[in-house]
């Protein structure tokens, strides 16, 4: 299973990666530093992930534009995209869902909640949702 983390913040990426790996050490994690990086990676079919964790506030092509491009790309429309951002702004939330984000999750401030949130996202989108789909 493969997760693509699109985030320019090294700290968040490190926390997210360590949390994901502590739950499933076989998980393949690919990291893109910004939107442009992510879209380049996604062009290669071999990099097609099972889940994309997408930050919004990034230099260059931000999360919203990245999501738009993903949803326009053949073969990527069905890949679950979870927005994982510090923004609680209503306009960000609405725009993300308009662009067919699968979930919008605000990055929790404290460590415990952060870890719990990552665990829940991982459990749902990499396991529960897949099970329902295959059934």
């Amino acid at each position: 299973m493969k997760v693509l983390i699109v985030d320019d913040d090294d700290g968040d990426v490190m926390l997210t990666e360590s949390c994901l790996h502590s739950n499933d050490n076989r998980l393949e994690i690919v990291r893109a530093f910004d939107g442009a990086d992510a879209l380049t990676l996604l062009e290669e079919d071999s990099h097609r992930p099972d889940l994309i964790l997408l930050d919004l506030n990034m230099p260059g092509i931000d999360g919203h534009k990245t999501l738009e491009s993903i949803r326009k790309t053949e073969g990527l429309q069905t890949v679950p995209v979870v927005i994982f951002s510090t923004s609680s702004s209503q306009s960000d939330i609405e725009r993300a869902y308009r662009n067919c984000a699968n979930a919008y999750v605000q990055k929790p401030a404290d460590l415990k909640n952060f870890q719990k949130t990552i665990t829940n996202i991982q459990a749902f989108w990499l396991h529960t949702a897949r099970t329902v789909k295959s059934a």
């Binding site: 913040d9 700290g11 510090t86 990055k107 401030a109 404290d110 460590l111 415990k112 952060f114």
Partner: protein, 735 residues
């Protein structure tokens, strides 16, 4: 006498002479005519010529009468009966015309055939003319009687008055001729005029002076009428007054006019004098008399020199000038000072009266205009005050005097504000329109229309083109005056230079927007590193806590605590900045419901026993519900945070909502504060207490202040150290 009988010829002459009767005879068979001397006399025919032939005699008659005479004579000849005719005309030999009376008899023979005609002949011209004159007089009299003139006859010796039908009818006695005793007649006249009529008639019966009097009379039904009477005395041969024949005319209607004139004369709000050239008062009205301190009777006929001595001279000189020149003086304004009271003002007209360009009388009409002058003065004073105010004010005043016209009046300051001289730019609606910035015209004109039609207050900000400085911002206000029909007739307003303020406001607004954007972004961006500090400090503590030596763990906790505080401050700032950008949405808010929800949110963390919330007053106010919630959240939160440690917290909320306005207060029994800080506590990051004891962001009350600012309302605080604090907020009255 015997002599007369003896000489019948002489008797006939004498008879003829004294009776003015002539004799004539016609002998038909002999065709001879005999005329007496008187007959010659009447015909103006010379006696020496002898009488005319029978056929010529008839020719003396007027052609129109010949036929009548001939037929009368013929009839008499046939019937043997006498004939008679009167007023037949004859033409004398000298050509003059006479009226004659002729009577004749036919003398017949035994067979009955006429032999002679003889008769008398008389000149009746004078009688005829008298009768004619009498008839004319009679018909004139009839006319007079018809026209409402009553005839009467006063028999002096019998002391009786005969009242003609017409006069009796006039007096309401049914039109029957009546004869009354003179005394009764006089007594029937209303007492005011009784003596006048009596003495006039008595004097006339002695002196025969013609008279014409106007007096009142009483009708049968008791009503009073006005009549004009005139009479003529008739004397007998001995010269004794025998009777007075008179006529009386009903002048009630003209008399009414006269009385009306007198009434007008007395009630017109002016003093009126009629004077002659000698300065005598011929007539004056009541007001004039009162102004001179007396009654009409006191002054009528008096000379003003007698009344006022030398003081009268000044007026007399003026009066004479008018009489002599014939040029009236009008609108002469003079002041007067009565014995008691303040100076008054009169305006006087002096009008010369006379005939054919010669004047001998003067009409003086004087009107008191004190109240008018006072009103004028008041107007002038108020105009003056207005002008002073207009010129002294920092605002420029414009006066659109007549809304129907283009003309306006602009104050000095108005001109200064637009940089023009009065001469350069005449004040007018057009000139104003030209000064107005084209983009601002529609709104300004619409506001004027709305003011005229809906009476909406006129207050508009617009740009006017300054002579040298280009367009500048002004605050324009105005108020129209409306007539009774609600139509605007005049509008006065002001312009105030708000250019610097407006520009500053625009700059400030830009700066504020910038600042808010900055605050929003900054707080977001600040959140990130803080979160890292917190999260990794925590991670460090969890993963490597045991390996930390000494105070390592304590230091890490300080780090985390500081980061937490900073995070809270930043989120407060974020909320504060967000509140500034929110659109205010005024609705009816249930204050009690919101307050109880907020209280419930807090009560989970409220570990103090017996804390209570009381709400009284009105239930609702008009406000933005979300902002009101934040306000109550912060105020109640404040009360909870600064509660007194030694007594249970009591929070009281009181809501007012009436014509005066809407407000609410939140009071507590907490630790309070010193009122010298009452204004500072609303400033950002301002704290009155050490954060170790009362942790806070210093943003709560600043946010409250901002909420009220967004509502165009205000907030104030009242603290009593150790006793409690009270926050009072006032919302504007919803429009």
């Amino acid at each position: 006498m015997p002599e007369m009988i003896d000489n019948p010829q002489r008797v006939l002459r004498l008879t003829e002479k004294f009776a003015k009767v002539g004799f004539w005879q016609v002998d038909i068979a002999a065709e001879r005519v005999f005329w007496s001397r008187e007959v010659f006399e009447i015909h103006g025919r010379d006696e020496s010529l002898g009488p005319p032939a029978l056929t010529d005699a008839i020719r003396y008659y007027h052609p129109d009468d010949v036929e009548m005479v001939q037929s009368a004579v013929d009839d008499a000849s046939k019937t043997g009966l006498p004939f008679e005719f009167n007023a037949a005309r004859i033409i004398r030999d000298d050509g003059t015309e006479r009226r004659i009376y002729s009577k004749g008899e036919v003398e017949t023979d035994a067979d009955g055939s006429p032999q002679r005609i003889h008769g008398v002949f008389r000149d009746t011209t004078a009688e005829y003319e008298q009768a004619q004159a009498l008839r004319a007089a009679k018909s004139r009299l009839d006319l007079l009687v018809e026209s409402g003139v009553g005839i009467w006859e006063y028999d002096i010796s019998a002391q009786q008055i005969l009242v003609s039908r017409k006069f009796s009818n006039m007096l309401g006695f049914g039109g029957e001729e009546i004869r009354v005793a003179y005394r009764d007649f006089i007594n029937a006249i209303p007492s005011a005029d009784r003596e006048l009529v009596d003495t006039t008639l008595q004097r006339h019966s002695e002196t025969d002076d013609p008279y014409l009097i106007e007096h009142s009379a009483r009708r049968k039904d008791g009503s009073v009428m006005w009549v004009r009477s005139r009479g003529k005395l008739e004397r007998d041969q001995r010269g004794t007054g025998r009777r007075i024949v008179g006529w009386t005319e009903d002048i009630s209607s003209s008399r009414r006019t006269q009385i009306q004139n007198q009434t007008i004369f007395d009630t017109v709000p002016a003093k009126i004098w009629l004077k002659d050239a000698e300065n005598r008062i011929l007539r004056l009205n009541k007001r004039a008399a009162e102004s001179m301190g007396g009654s009409v009777a006191d002054f009528e006929g008096q000379n003003t020199y007698d009344l006022f001595g030398e003081m009268a001279k000044k007026y007399h000189d003026d009066d004479l000038a008018v009489i002599n020149s014939g040029a009236p003086i009008r609108g002469m304004v003079e002041s007067y000072t009565p014995n008691e009271g303040e100076t008054g003002w009169v305006t006087t007209d002096k009008i010369p009266l006379g005939q054919d360009g010669k004047f001998d009388q003067l009409l003086v009409v004087s009107t008191d205009i004190t109240s008018l002058i006072e009103a004028e003065n008041r107007v002038r004073e108020s105009e003056e005050r207005f002008r002073l105010a207009a010129d002294g004010a920092s605002v420029g005043i414009w006066d659109w005097v007549d809304i129907e016209s283009e003309t306006e009046v602009w104050s000095d300051q108005f001109y200064r504000l637009i940089g023009y001289d009065r001469d350069e730019l005449p004040a007018s609606l057009n000139a104003f329109g030209d000064l107005l910035h084209p983009d601002d015209r529609p709104a300004a004109f619409a506001a004027v229309d709305a003011h005229f039609t809906e009476r909406k207050p006129f207050e508009v900000e617009y740009r006017l083109k300054h002579k040298t400085k280009g367009y500048r911002w002004f605050l324009g206000t105005g108020q129209a005056a409306y007539d009774d029909d609600g139509k605007p007739v005049r509008m006065v307003g002001s312009i105030q230079d708000i250019h610097d303020r407006r520009v500053a406001e625009e700059n400030l607004s830009e700066a504020n927007t910038e600042l808010e954007r900055f605050a929003y972004i900054a707080s977001h961006d600040l959140q990130e590193p803080l979160r890292k500090i917190q999260q990794f400090s925590e991670l460090l503590l969890i993963d490597h806590g045991e390996t930390l030596k000494g105070n390592g763990e304590v230091y890490l906790n300080f780090l985390m605590d500081a980061a937490d505080r900073m995070r809270k401050q930043i989120s407060g700032l974020l909320e504060y900045s967000r509140a500034g950008r929110a659109a205010v949405n005024i609705q009816t808010c249930d204050v009690a419901a919101i307050a109880r929800e907020v209280w419930a949110d807090f009560s989970a963390s409220l570990d103090a026993d017996g804390a209570s919330l009381e709400i009284d007053g009105k239930a609702t106010i008009q406000a933005d519900p979300e902002l009101l919630r934040r306000l109550l959240f912060n105020l109640i939160g404040n009360s909870i945070k600064y509660r007194h440690s030694e007594r249970p917290l009591s929070v009281k909320i009181h809501v007012e909502n009436d014509a005066e306005g809407q407000s609410l207060s939140v009071s507590d029994n907490g630790i309070g504060f010193d009122n010298s800080h009452a204004n500072d506590i609303f400033k950002l990051f301002n704290r009155l207490h050490r954060k170790e004891v009362y942790p806070g962001t210093g943003l709560g009350l600043a946010l409250c202040e901002r909420v009220m600012h967004l509502h165009d309302g205000r907030i104030s605080a009242d603290g009593r150290p150790g006793e409690g604090a009270s926050f009072n907020v006032v919302f504007p009255q919803p429009t």
